[in-house]
């Protein structure tokens, strides 16, 4: 009996948690705090995709252009580029952090290139490119 009660509570809580982020927010304009960590966010996977992605690259001493994610020392297995892109969305200052970690205690310098795309205009070519200088002094527009 105790197991059945537990299963019922677990199943109902899961559904209530999911509804809390879909129906409740749409109907009531608010979410309830359901305390448990797995009920804190909804199950959102690519439901609204940005039309203006940015791609981050860098150029080092050898002059070769590479994905900026290669400069991040903390590896993200099989999703390095998207981890970097999402981190910048979460924290716009993240590029400065990447620069700081890559150059601290060294005399190295890098050129960061940020290509801004507009999917509705041209998904293959950037509509704007930004070049930044990264060295021990920090990150600054070139």
């Amino acid at each position: 009996m105790a197991q059945r009660v537990f299963v019922c509570i677990w199943v109902v809580l899961g559904v209530v948690g999911a509804l809390n982020h879909t129906i409740a927010e749409k109907l009531l304009g608010m979410r309830f705090n359901l305390v448990l960590p797995h009920l804190e966010y909804g199950y959102v996977m690519f439901n609204k995709n940005p039309h203006d992605p940015a791609v981050y690259d860098y150029v080092g001493d050898d002059g070769i252009r590479r994905p900026l994610a290669e400069l991040v020392a903390t590896r993200s297995f099989f999703h390095a580029d998207s981890r970097l892109a999402v981190s910048v969305i979460f924290q716009p200052d993240y590029l400065r952090e990447v620069c700081y970690r890559a150059t601290r205690g060294t005399t190295k310098s890098y050129t960061f290139i940020v290509d801004h795309y507009d999917i509705d205009v041209d998904p293959r070519h950037p509509v704007q490119s930004q070049t930044l200088r990264c060295d021990a002094h920090g990150l600054a527009p070139r």
């Binding site: 197991q3 999911a18 909804g42 199950y43 996977m45 439901n47 995709n49 940015a54 993200s76 998207s82």
Partner: protein
């Protein structure tokens, strides 16, 4: 009478025992996924979990603010203990304690800083870890615990190991709940009226798409992307319903094949963390019934013998 039989059918997914192999495979994949996801940041503590680094608060506020008061030595010890526990849970050694320590450890570190580890798969990871802490189990097969038990003379090696259905049922429920509501969120976000996959699949190299997808023009056309949009909705909304409602093995198996192909397609085409795949795709294998598990293992054994 009908209510009784419906209730009995509902609880049957969580009561009694079943083949221990699917949950054992899930255990290995899930804790392997957690290891791949968390170990890089747990190894590089200075870059991710010191007071001065750029952080985001995604989970527990208490842990988030307490990071600056925790001495580095304690943090290092906690990270090592978490990693050891995760490996123990993966190999199934002292599994229940290992799951408890892993769960508390990874939740604490994700709360210290969400930036290096944040993914929506964590919502399901917390649910599964919590259920595992409460229910225990998952180490009846393919585990050090099972091996030690057999060495001590407990259990017959020729007998196929069995496991309580409770944990398997809850893990499968979590995987299909996440999949179903991801579909609901998409419907509410207007997917049926738009072509969101047309946006996603047209992203340039270096942003979410795997390079081969960005370099394959045939995947960017309106017809293909519309088809992917609808396929996503049908699988995310339909497969969970079949797993929950249908008791027809053939239908469940056919839907499971489509469901697995769908998640394989996601990881092959999009840059998502392996943890995502280990939860949703490997979790889906728990929909196999005992006869299907037996058929799969017999076939695998046959091909091994032939080779």
């Amino acid at each position: 009478m009908r209510t009784d039989s419906l209730l009995a059918r509902f609880f049957a997914a969580f009561e009694g025992t079943r083949s221990a192999l699917p949950i054992a495979v899930f255990r290995i994949a899930f804790f392997g996924g957690l290891a791949l996801h968390f170990f890089p940041s747990l190894v590089r503590l200075d870059d991710n979990y010191t007071a001065g680094v750029l952080r985001t608060e995604e989970w527990n506020h208490f842990f988030y603010v307490s990071l600056q008061h925790i001495p580095h030595g304690v943090l290092r010890t906690a990270s090592i203990v978490t990693m050891v526990a995760c490996v123990m849970a993966m190999v199934g050694l002292a599994t229940r304690i290992a799951v408890l320590v892993t769960g508390v450890g990874v939740y604490m570190f994700a709360s210290f800083n969400g930036l290096p580890v944040q993914t929506l798969a964590l919502v399901d990871a917390w649910a599964i870890l919590l259920a595992w802490m409460i229910c225990g189990g998952g180490a009846e097969a393919l585990s050090a615990d099972a091996l030690l038990r057999r060495r001590r003379g407990g259990g017959d090696a020729s007998e196929a190991p069995r496991a309580p259905k409770l944990l398997s049922g809850l893990v499968l429920y979590q995987a299909v709940l996440g999949t179903f509501f991801a579909g609901v969120e998409k419907v509410l976000a207007g997917w049926p009226q738009t072509n969101e996959m047309g946006i996603l699949l047209n992203y340039p190299r270096g942003f979410i798409l795997r390079d081969w997808v960005a370099d394959s023009p045939w995947l960017h056309g309106s017809l293909v992307t519309h088809a992917f949009t609808w396929l996503t909705l049908v699988v995310e909304l339909g497969a969970p319903l079949v797993f929950v409602v249908s008791r027809q093995p053939r239908l469940r198996l056919a839907v499971l094949v489509v469901y697995e192909a769908f998640f394989l397609g996601i990881v092959v085409m999009l840059e998502v963390p392996p943890l995502f795949y280990s939860i949703f795709a490997v979790g889906g294998l728990l929909a196999l019934d005992d006869a299907q598990v037996e058929a799969v293992t017999r076939r695998l054994r046959g091909s091994r013998l032939r080779s």
